[in-house]
C-alpha cells in the first residue's frame, strides 16, 4: 500500500475541517453562559442544557420521535424479513419488480411522499394521528430494512438448514432455530438504520405531523425557522451525543461501512 503525499494530507485535513466545523460550532455555542448566540469565551456553562427542561414541547417531541422510531422500524423489519427471504431465496417471475417496489421510497422525493400521505390520511380520516405518521414512517424506512436483511439472507450458508431439515426439523423450527439466529446481525442492523432514519426524518414528517404528533426534528425545524438560539444548539448537542453512541453500537454490531453502503 502506498502512502499519501503532502498535498493529499493537506487536502484531507481541509476536508475533515469542512466536515467537522459546523458540528463543532453547534457544540461550542451550546456551552455558552450568555443569553444570546456566542462562543463560551468566559468558561463553559450548562445553562442552556438546564433550560431544555423548561420547554416541555421539546421533551414531548423527543418521546414522540422515540416511540415513532421504535414502532415504525419494528413493523418494517417484521414485514421485511419474509420479503427478504422471498427475494433472496426464490427465483420467481416478478422478483426484480418486488424488490423495486420495496426500494421505491428512496426514488420518490420526500416532499412528494409528504403531500401524498397528507392527502391520503385526510381522505381516510386518520390525519394527525399516531397511527397515520407511523404507517408513513414504515413505508419511508422499509428500503433500509429490506436491504440489510436481504444482504444477510443472501450471504448466509445453507448447509445448517439442510442438515436440520434432514434430521426432521419442521420448517418453522428450522426458521426459528437456524435461519433467524444466522440473519440476526442483518435484522438488528436493519432495525437500527431504520430507527435512525425515522428518528431524523424531517421533510415528509413536516406534512403529516400535527401538534400532537410533532416529532423532534420537525419541532426543531419550526424553532430554527423562527429563531436560532443557544437552546436549539444545546438540544442538537445532546442529539449528536446520542447519535455517536448509536454509531459506536452499530459499528460493533454490523460494521459501519457495511450499514452505510446500505443507506446509499
Amino acid at each position: 500500500m502506498r502512502r499519501n503525499g503532502l498535498i493529499s494530507l493537506i487536502f484531507h485535513t481541509l476536508f475533515i475541517i469542512f466536515i467537522v466545523a459546523p458540528l463543532l460550532a453547534v457544540v461550542a455555542v451550546s456551552f455558552t453562559g450568555k443569553g444570546y448566540l456566542s462562543l463560551p469565551t468566559d468558561g463553559l456553562s450548562l445553562r442552556w442544557f438546564r433550560t431544555i427542561w423548561e420547554y416541555p414541547g421539546f421533551i414531548d417531541a423527543f418521546w414522540m420521535s422515540l416511540y415513532l422510531g421504535i414502532a415504525a422500524s419494528t413493523i418494517a423489519v417484521a414485514v421485511a424479513v419474509p420479503a427478504a427471504i422471498a427475494i433472496g431465496r426464490y427465483d420467481f417471475r416478478g422478483r426484480e419488480g418486488v424488490m423495486a417496489v420495496f426500494l421505491s421510497p428512496l426514488m420518490i422525493p420526500s416532499v412528494v411522499l409528504g403531500v401524498s400521505f397528507l392527502r391520503f390520511f385526510n381522505q381516510v380520516g386518520i390525519s394527525g394521528t399516531f397511527i397515520g405518521i407511523t404507517l408513513a414512517h414504515v413505508i419511508m424506512v422499509m428500503p433500509y430494512a429490506v436491504r440489510l436483511v436481504l444482504a444477510s439472507v443472501t450471504g448466509m450458508p445453507r448447509d445448517a438448514e439442510q442438515a436440520a431439515a434432514t434430521l426432521g426439523a419442521s420448517n418453522w423450527t428450522v426458521f426459528r432455530r437456524i435461519t433467524l439466529p444466522l440473519i440476526l446481525p442483518g435484522i438488528a442492523g436493519g432495525w437500527l438504520l431504520a430507527f435512525i432514519t425515522s428518528f431524523d426524518e424531517v421533510t415528509m414528517s413536516i406534512f403529516v405531523a400535527s401538534p400532537e404528533t410533532m416529532t423532534l426534528p420537525v419541532r426543531m425545524y419550526h424553532h430554527i425557522a423562527q429563531t436560532i438560539d443557544p437552546l436549539i444548539a444545546a438540544i442538537s448537542t445532546l442529539l449528536m451525543g446520542a447519535t455517536v453512541l448509536l454509531l459506536v453500537l452499530l459499528d460493533r454490531l454490523y460494521g459501519l461501512d457495511r450499514v452505510l453502503v446500505g443507506k446509499g
Partner: protein, 288 residues
Amino acid sequence: MAEASRSNAPWLLSGPGLVLFAALLGTPLILTVILSFYQFDYSIGGIKPAFSFENYRDVLTDPYFHKIFGRTFGVSLIVTVFCVLIGAPEAYILNRMRNPWKSLFLLVVIGPLLISVIVRTLGWALLFGGQGGISTVLQWLGIVDEPVSLMFTMTGMTIALVHVLVPFMVLAVWASLQRLDPQVEDAALSLGASQATVLRRIVLPQIMPGILSGSLIVFSLTASAFATPSIIGGRRMKVVSTTAYDEYLSTLNWPLGAAIAIVLLIATAIIIMSYNRLIERRYARVFE
C-alpha cells in the same frame, strides 16, 4: 442462490409488504395525481373537484415556477459537481491510509449521515451569520472589511448542501475502491508510469461507476432537499420542495402544491432514468 420455484411461497412471503405498499404508497400517490387536476377555489377557500389542466399549465408556463425549478436543478448540478470534486479524492486518500487512521477518518466522514440534517444545517447557520465563524475568520484574514453573511445566499445554500451530501459520494467511491486491486497500480508505477498517469489511466476508470452512482444519489437528494434550502436559503432562495410546502401549509392551495410535487417527481425520474441508461450503456460490464 435461489431454488427455481413455481410455488406461491415467494408471493406469500412478500405479500404482507406488497399489500402494505399498495395501500399506503400506491393509493396516496394516485390520490395526489388526481388532486393535482382539481382546482382551488379562493372564494370558498376549498378544493373544487373539477378536472382541469390549469395547475400544470401554471407550473409549466409561469416564469415564477421556471425560476424555482431552474434554481432547484441548477443547485443540484453544482452540488453534484462539487461532491465529485472533493468526495472522490477524499475516498481515494482514505483508502490509502493505514488503520487505525483509516477507520477513524472513515467514521468522521460518513458518520454525519446519521446526524440529523437539521443539526448539520444549524451548524452552517451558526457559521454563516454576520457574527458567525466564517465572517470572523475572513475579517481576521483581511479578506473582507466588514461582517459578511452567507445566510439567504446561493453560495451558503450550496456549501451547506455539499456538506450534507458529500458523505454519499465518499461512500459510493469507497465501495468501488474496495474492488480495485492495488497491485495493478504498483505494476503501472514499476513499468514507469507517472503518478498522474496511474490516476488517470488505472484508478479513474475503475472508480467511475462509483462516481456515477454517487452523483445520481447526490443529485436526486439535492433536488428534493427541504430543510437545508429552507433554513439557509429562506424565502429569498425558494426551491421546489419549499414552494410545495408553502402552497400546502400557507396558501392552502393543495391542488397546485400537488401539481408542483408531481412535476418534481416526473422531472427527477426522467433525469435519473436517462442518466441510468447512459451509465448502463457505457459501463455495462463494471456496473453491478
